[in-house]
């Protein structure tokens, strides 16, 4: 047994209102740079829909993730090591910019520089890739809220897997939102695909990262990831991906997407797992067993044997404490409502989802039934095949059983809590019908509905003795490195020594917000980081140099 700790997330899809705040704040924090215009580490897609990049779930086309070979062993779906090296000069399975979308800006200058005419001048779109005038025909959320439904939604690879009947009944539309970040898988196929060994899973917290100094831009990770959550920065020629906001979680803060989530639907916590069992669990023959197999890899943090093993593996005491009070463990095991996204990719994803009950409730309410009555809800979950089958394709490799189980529990919570809210006597039979008791239902309700901040996010800090080296604390002078932020070396943007991410982003963001043209990287050299200025005196660089007069 090799016990490791993993930071994991659960998203409660019932509460997602599709506002894209998580996407926007994530973009502001991480991908607000040249070369990553098209990149959304966090995106929210409407289901049914094509997703971002378009039809990424169609693994017959994109060949992401793992599959079993004839001997029942795991192999990368896009081909083994030799095949990867042979196709390294032109990756045949790489999505092009058009599969994401061509990012654009507007020709705002026209609004000011246009000569006086009868007509109002128009700022026309310009491609950020070629710089040429362009026509906007697609974006990351083109089919948001089922826009273009009858034409676009049938191309949804998940929908295509369902029986024909579904397409006919599409008129009785259902929809929900699916926010996605990198899954930080236990068995990451992107890491396995990286020829240079630049991608790695962090041993302490399981975050999957790209070492920017070792990445050589072979682009195999983009192909390897079935969720298409590794992106190629076309300016720097390096792969980039969601970092689980590691500078934040290292000091105990939730990720930006979680912190800013309006619906408070995200949960972050630690889970313990047995790294020796991962490969075995990922290679169970029947895809429908993968959900259970994945649960089997995770360990019970209350088990004395596990605690002893974790101590032996060097996991600190406060992390074990956090693992015991982890909302993730509760949602997966105690309440049994969280399911992994696409377990059939065999990557053991670690961002789990509570499937939404709302499509069922909506349909019930539309037909004039009481959408909070336990009997009605249980009946509807059994009867409404389409949403359930669709959810099953997303979360359990097509097995409707576990999805129905989860929906029943959510339904039970709904009607059990309604009785309490209306001052009626709690009906214990509702709880027992789904294998829970009233106490558990109330606990689950507290975690899902009230969702207090420190119960949603139980994030142990990184070792205190490493605090000095952590990014966000910045006890060292943040500008104390060669070159300065955002430097433009002779080998393309940002070549040279790396700068701390937090500092670079702070400056770049401010420059973009306040500047009226493309930022001049040289301007930022030798400037004081106000975040850790102690407020005394006027250190050199506190005020920007004036252009021209050299003062």
């Amino acid at each position: 047994m090799r016990i490791m700790a993993q930071l994991a997330m659960v998203m409660n899809l019932d509460k997602c209102i599709g506002c894209h705040t998580c996407s926007v704040t994530c973009k502001q924090a991480w991908t607000n740079r040249a070369g990553t215009e098209y990149v959304w580490f966090n995106n929210v897609e409407t289901r049914p829909g094509q997703g971002y990049p378009r039809t990424y779930q169609d693994q017959d086309k994109w060949k992401g993730g793992w599959e079993l070979n004839r001997r029942g062993r795991l192999k990368l779906k896009a081909g083994g090591r030799l095949r990867k090296l042979l196709t390294i000069f032109a990756n045949p399975l790489m999505p092009s910019i058009n599969d994401y979308y061509e990012p654009w800006t507007y020709d705002y200058d026209r609004l000011f520089s246009a000569p006086a005419t009868e007509d109002t001048p128009v700022a026309r779109p310009r491609s950020l890739i070629s710089g040429e005038p362009t026509k906007i025909t697609w974006s990351a959320n083109w089919d948001d809220d089922l826009a273009g439904g009858p034409e676009l939604a049938p191309a949804d690879p998940v929908l295509r897997k369902l029986s024909d009947q579904v397409k006919l009944e599409f008129e009785q539309a259902f929809m929900f939102y699916l926010p996605r970040i990198c899954e930080h898988c236990l068995n990451p196929s992107c890491v396995a695909s990286c020829p240079s060994g630049a991608m790695y899973k962090r041993a302490e917290d399981g975050i999957v990262l790209v070492d920017q100094d070792r990445c050589r831009g072979w682009r195999m990770c983009v192909t390897g990831c079935p969720y298409k959550k590794v992106y190629f920065n076309h300016r720097t020629g390096k792969a980039e991906k969601c970092t689980f906001c590691y500078p934040r979680v290292e000091v105990g803060l939730p990720t930006v997407c979680s912190e800013t989530c309006v619906g408070r639907l995200r949960y972050i916590g630690i889970i313990l797992y047995d790294a020796d069992k991962v490969a075995e669990a990922a290679s169970v023959p029947d895809e429908k067993d993968l959900y259970e197999a994945q649960k089997g890899v995770l360990l019970d943090p209350h088990d004395p044997e596990v605690i002893a093993g974790a101590r032996a593996a060097g996991i600190p005491e406060d992390w074990l404490e956090a693992a015991r009070s982890s909302p993730i463990h509760k949602l997966i095991f105690e309440f049994g409502v969280a399911l992994p996204l696409h377990p059939e990719y065999r990557t053991m994803p670690m961002v789990w989802y509570i499937p939404p009950l709302s499509p069922v409730v909506d349909i019930l309410a539309k037909t004039g039934h009481d959408g909070e009555d336990a009997g009605n809800l249980f009946g509807a979950i059994d009867a409404l095949r389409i949403p359930v089958e669709y959810l099953a394709e997303l979360f359990t490799a097509g097995d409707p059983g576990p999805v129905k189980g989860v929906l029943n529990r959510l339904a039970a919570m709904r009607s059990y809590m309604r009785r309490i809210n209306l001052g009626q006597t709690p009906d214990e039979s509702i709880a027992t019908a789904v294998g829970m008791n009233g106490r558990q239902i109330e606990d689950m309700h507290r975690l899902l509905a009230l969702a207090p901040y420190d119960e949603r996010y139980v994030i142990p800090k990184a070792h205190a003795e490493q605090g000095h080296q952590l990014e966000e604390l910045a006890t060292q002078c943040s500008l104390d490195y060669e070159g300065g932020p955002g430097m433009n070396g002779p080998f393309g943007e940002a070549s040279g020594m790396p700068s701390p991410v937090a500092v670079e982003n702070f400056h770049a963001l401010r420059e973009r917000q306040a500047g009226d043209e493309l930022d001049d990287a040289n301007e930022l050299r030798g400037r004081v980081n106000l975040l850790n200025w102690d407020g005394k005196g006027t250190p050199e660089g506190l005020f920007p140099k004036r252009n021209g007069d050299g003062s």
Binding site: F232, F491, G492, G496
Partner: protein, 240 residues
């Protein structure tokens, strides 16, 4: 003159090649990349790039066979000069044409596909020029000497000169007598080696051969080297 061309120039180029790579690796690991443009355009790349790269790998092997391995060795294992020559000329010409064709497609793509052209730096253009000239001259020398002319046994002149550089006993006289096309090819190759570390060609030195043997999933500890932060300076190691 021949000392300058065939002794000084090679050593300057080699020094730049070695030190340049060391410096670039220390100073600019982040810029060490292929800077792939496949995101922008894939159709032409999928023909041109493998054609060029596989071609140039064969060319590289050919150069190792012709320049590094002494003639006496191949003769010792029973390969006659004539047999060697036929193989070398046929393979070399095919690989050379594939390389040149691939490069032509890639340069055409670079010029005509808008986004790819915008992503091309001046550095790239210089590199393409030198690389293109070197390949053209090399192919021209082979074709002129062996297919049009009566054949030229470079293994008695150029190869010993090449090896003499590495033994630090350079013999410029050997090279001074070589046909001009071969001389020009060697000179442009020296220029290419000199600018090599400062271009995107550096990606060749980190060809991911290790991928064949390493385990699939890589685990790394945070302690090793905190990403994004400079390493602690001497005397300022954090106390543990």
């Amino acid at each position: 003159m021949s000392i300058l061309l065939w002794v000084v120039a090679p050593y300057v180029a080699l020094t730049l090649f070695v030190l340049g790579h060391l410096w670039r690796y220390r100073y600019d690991k982040f810029g060490w990349t292929t800077r792939s443009s496949q995101m922008y355009e894939s159709r032409l790349l999928r023909i041109g790039s493998p054609l060029f790269h596989f071609g140039i790998l064969v060319v590289l092997l050919g150069h190792i066979g012709g320049l590094v391995i002494p003639k006496s060795w191949t003769e010792a294992v029973g390969v006659s000069e004539a047999a060697y020559h036929v193989v070398a000329v046929v393979l070399g010409t095919i690989a050379g044409i594939a390389t040149l064709g691939g490069l032509a497609i890639l340069i055409y793509r670079r010029r005509t596909v808008g986004p790819v052209f915008t992503a091309t730096t001046r550095n790239d253009k210089l590199m393409y020029a030198v690389l293109g000239i070197t390949i053209v001259l090399g192919l021209a020398a082979t074709v002129a000497a062996n297919i049009l002319g009566g054949g030229y046994d470079y293994r008695t002149t150029i190869s010993p000169w090449f090896r003499s550089i590495f033994f630090f006993r350079p013999e410029p006289a050997l090279m001074a007598g070589a046909p001009p096309l071969f001389q020009l090819h060697a000179l442009s190759a020296l220029v290419l080696f000199a600018i090599w570390p400062f271009t995107r060609l550096v990606h060749m030195l980190t060809a991911p051969i290790g991928y064949l043997t390493r385990p699939y999933v890589v685990y790394r500890s945070r302690d090793e080297q905190p990403t994004g932060t400079r390493p602690p300076r001497r005397g300022w190691e954090p106390s543990r």
